[in-house]
Symmetry: none
Subunit: 252 residues, 2 copies
């Protein structure tokens, strides 16, 4: 049996059932489980499936999974980042928090006994904050974009313009020393710019895969970042670049 044949059969079953089991494939193909695992690893590397313990599941096709998929990606890491980011908060402060799974993790990490005023255009962040009794929550309305999980548009901009904040938690973007902070969507970038303009300091918490990447729309320069929260394993050279532009680096 050709390697390529197995790959094709795996793709087929994945399209049909949505999942495959390593052991089952091994006996069906008459090869060792190691070989199947190798196949699965390769296909996962090519983005054609998502590897899970015991087999693999379909990666993209499942609708509505795009956002929850991302949030599952590095839960552990994002929770750590969030805890570190929350350490930057002081009682009584006012915040802007925009969208992104990392920002949602940050919202969930805010302790119950902290008094804050938070304005957000992310429904996920808003939901996480509704449980907190001492948080004054201001929802920034507008046209809701499912892919982003946030509200954008003229209404959102108008709402942001009326507010000011001590800190802005800017999420889900590309981060590059030369190009600064960048976003994937034009309207999203507009809202981020407005929030940045009306806040005294910008906080960015990112996983390593966001470092040294850039998206089409520019939000702010690298020198606008006050606090940068990163994983312990973040590349030191990149961090030094940001530090030289005034960013204070915190390790999760």
């Amino acid at each position: 049996m050709l390697t390529e044949e197995r790959h094709q059969l795996i793709r087929n079953q994945l399209a049909a059932d949505g999942r495959v089991l390593a052991g089952e494939l091994a006996s069906r193909f008459g090869v060792s489980e190691d070989t199947v695992r190798r196949d699965l690893r390769e296909l996962a590397k090519a983005g054609q499936l998502r590897r899970v313990y015991g087999g693999a599941v379909a990666s993209a096709p499942f609708a509505a999974a795009t956002l929850s998929q991302r949030s599952r990606h590095a839960v552990e890491e994002k929770t750590r980042l969030a805890t570190a980011a929350v350490g930057l908060l002081g009682a009584g402060q006012s915040l802007f928090i925009d969208g992104g799974t990392t920002n949602e993790a940050i919202a969930r990490a805010i302790p119950r006994d902290m008094e804050l005023t938070v304005a957000t255009n992310s429904l996920g962040v808003a939901s996480a904050l509704t449980d907190l009794p001492l948080v004054e929550l201001i929802v920034l309305g507008g046209r809701y974009v499912p892919d982003l999980g946030t509200c954008v548009g003229a209404d959102t901009l108008a709402a942001v313009a009326q507010l000011g904040a001590d800190l802005f938690f800017l999420g889900s973007c590309g981060l590059d020393v030369a190009r600064g902070v960048t976003a994937f969507d034009s309207a999203e970038a507009e809202v981020k710019r407005a929030m940045a303009k009306n806040s005294a300091g910008i906080v960015i918490a990112v996983t390593n895969d966001k470092l040294a990447t850039a998206a089409p729309y520019r939000v702010a320069g690298a020198d606008a970042i006050r606090h940068l929260v990163v994983e312990k394993s973040a590349p030191a050279a990149t961090l030094a670049d940001f530090q030289s532009r005034g960013a204070q680096v915190h390790f999760a």
Copy 2:
């Protein structure tokens, strides 16, 4: 059974029923309750559900209220009301939906293949609508009031003023022939009045306990109600009063 499969099934049931029971899941999956509890903990950590004693509920603010404050019977009743209320909708219509558990049930009852434009100041309603691909969702921002689950205030009023709708689903209020539609909160009533003013028709779906009761703040007269969705067991005399003022009565 793959761990990932269980997670997916839990998410599915959560989307359908709004709640899951640990014991029930364990027997359905053929694993120990500990394993299910671990699953629930992980999903809760990823923000995909909210852990409660005995199982879990959907992470939207919707769930907390339904489980802790309302009886199981009321949930079923509201679901029936919601199904009937959704029957009033036509494709392509634009709606205002404000807060209340009944309105959240209505939002959940909207079929996936219905094209609508919906503006809401309720986070619970908004959360329920994020999954629907054909619904253009407009979030009406403002100061969030935890007790109501909705946004109110000047910002909300300004956002409503810019919109118009075919129908307004008015929720969670007192209903009395003499005093009309009434609300418990001044700011809430203001928003409801604004929505009523900018919509062509008002729909009210209520359980029996709301009929013939009144709250302090007046929203609209009884003659402003276009559609009234009630339980089959609703007192006929009260309904006749509303019908004589122009309301069309629908039984769930």
